[in-house]
């Protein structure tokens, strides 16, 4: 289990470092902030886990930050003021709903499965919107377009892990150890895909005419 997680950490740090070398692009700057916050969150979780503290509380806040940053990334590439306004509203509403739900119903010590499910649903919506609004600016194929890889990364990650995250609390209620083991593996795999595709996306910025 540790190997899976350390592999994910390596990719996360690699993604962060690569993004630092490409800060000229607005989307990469936001990605750098996102990966930076992810690293800090994982560090806090590791430390709290070692002290046997309830580390899930960190995720309640991380989910809100993560959603806002991802939405801001998509917001940069989506044309139309209407959609941008929707995204702005969604960030405020999601922040309030997510934190409100954790405070009033879910509790800070439990895994924020519902919060992540709502976040995943919203991000998938933005991914679908982004997929069909990617504008070609050259003869280059879509596979050389940074927006495609960033969208694909978030789409696969959130669509794939939405089910697992949504039912994680239910699984935990049964066989905790196995559930944690299964979650860690699936989460790591989806994280591998996420960060590999994000790295590919960041590297595509360099070669893409519209951004150079």
């Amino acid at each position: 289990m540790q190997i899976w997680i350390y592999g994910y950490y390596v990719l996360l740090v690699a993604c962060f470092i690569i993004s630092l070398f490409n800060l000229a692009y607005a989307k990469v700057r936001l990605l750098a902030v996102l990966t930076g916050i992810s690293i800090i969150t994982e560090l806090i979780v590791e430390l709290m886990g070692k002290e046997d503290l309830h580390f899930f509380v960190v995720y309640h806040f991380f989910v809100v930050l993560e959603y806002c940053l991802i939405t801001l990334i998509f917001r940069l590439g989506i044309p139309g003021k209407g959609w941008k306004s929707c995204m702005d509203v969604s960030m405020v509403v999601f922040g309030m709903v997510s934190l409100g739900y954790s405070f009033l119903y879910g509790g800070w010590h439990y895994f924020p499965g519902i919060n992540i499910t709502i976040e995943s649903f919203l991000v998938i919506c933005w991914c679908l919107l982004s997929f069909f609004t990617i504008s070609p600016h050259s003869e280059a194929s879509i596979f050389q377009h940074p927006d495609f890889w960033i969208t694909l990364a978030f789409f696969f990650y959130f669509a794939g892990s939405m089910c697992v995250n949504g039912f994680y609390n239910l699984l935990l209620a049964g066989d905790t150890k196995s559930a944690q083991h299964l979650f860690a593996i699936l989460n790591s795999i989806s994280n591998y895909l996420l960060y590999i595709m994000l790295i590919k996306g960041i590297l595509c910025f360099r070669g893409h005419k519209i951004y150079t």
Binding site: L128, F131, F132, I134, S135, P136, H137, E139, I142, H145, F148, L152, F155, F156, A159, G160, C163, L171, G174, D175, S178, A179, L182
Partner: protein, 259 residues
């Protein structure tokens, strides 16, 4: 409690379904992108063509203006000088009891030079081109070349009226001039035949000579003259080809769509 075998199957089916839907979404996104890209590239191509067209028109207008200016200068300056010289020669002839042959030849040569200069000046003058049709301009050009008696140029056509505006007519005239010049410079022909006829909605123009011909494989499209002719024909929306005639000469085939 981990899922049992039945639940596992359901999970596998659900995951497969999920990934299939995700895959379909990606495929649809790729297809949408390609369609957009095709439209975008087409738009870019059209814009580039339009830009090149505008650029070419500007160049041609500049060339025409320069030619018109040159024609005017030739007519007003050199033409006047030659006329004055001819007048002086005539005065000299009248004052001499017996006119020497050399002076007569000089006077004739001067007259021919003035004639040629006027014809050249006319063919360069924009006003003159605007006033007369391509057919008439071409006739004048043919007469001018034939006057040299070094080469026989013929011009035939079956047109009652040329269905082209003034600008395209000028451009076509310049193409023909360029073709004739190329022919005179490189092929050393005895005769040049220019024919113009309509074939449906296409104006077919053939400039054929009986000169040295050319090796098609070695023909370079980098030459200024040939490139100009190609550019001008493209601007008119037509095509231009160079062929070797059965007699070994060169034929320039120009096809222009006309309404």
């Amino acid at each position: 409690m981990l899922p049992g075998t039945q639940d596992l199957y359901v999970a596998v089916i659900l995951i497969t379904l999920l990934f299939t839907i995700m895959g379909l979404v990606v495929v649809m996104a790729v297809i949408t992108y390609r369609k957009k890209q095709q439209a975008y590239l087409h738009e870019i191509k059209m814009m580039r063509e339009e830009y090149e067209k505008q650029l070419m028109w500007s160049r041609i207008e500049m060339q025409e203006d320069t030619l018109a200016h040159l024609g005017q200068e030739l007519h007003d300056d050199v033409g006047q000088l030659l006329s004055s010289t001819k007048l002086l020669v005539n005065v000299t002839q009248r004052n001499l009891p017996e006119v020497p042959d050399t002076l007569k030849i000089a006077e004739e040569t001067l007259s021919t030079a003035i004639q040629h200069l006027r014809a050249l000046s006319r063919s360069s003058s924009r006003q003159w081109l605007d006033q007369f049709s391509l057919v008439e301009n071409l006739r004048g050009e043919v007469e001018r070349i034939n006057a040299s008696r070094e080469i026989q140029v013929s011009f035939t056509h079956d047109l009652e009226a040329l269905p082209l505006q003034s600008e395209p007519q000028i451009m076509l005239f310049r193409i023909i001039q360029e073709a004739i010049q190329n022919c005179l410079r490189h092929a050393r022909p005895q005769a040049i035949d220019i024919s113009m006829r309509m074939a449906g909605n296409v104006l077919l123009l053939i400039i054929a000579d009986d000169g040295a011909g050319f090796a098609k494989a070695e023909m370079s499209s980098n030459g200024m003259g040939i490139r100009n002719m190609q550019h001008r024909t493209n601007l008119l929306g037509g095509t231009i080809h160079w062929e070797v005639t059965s007699a070994g000469g060169t034929a320039v085939l120009i096809k222009l769509p006309v309404e």
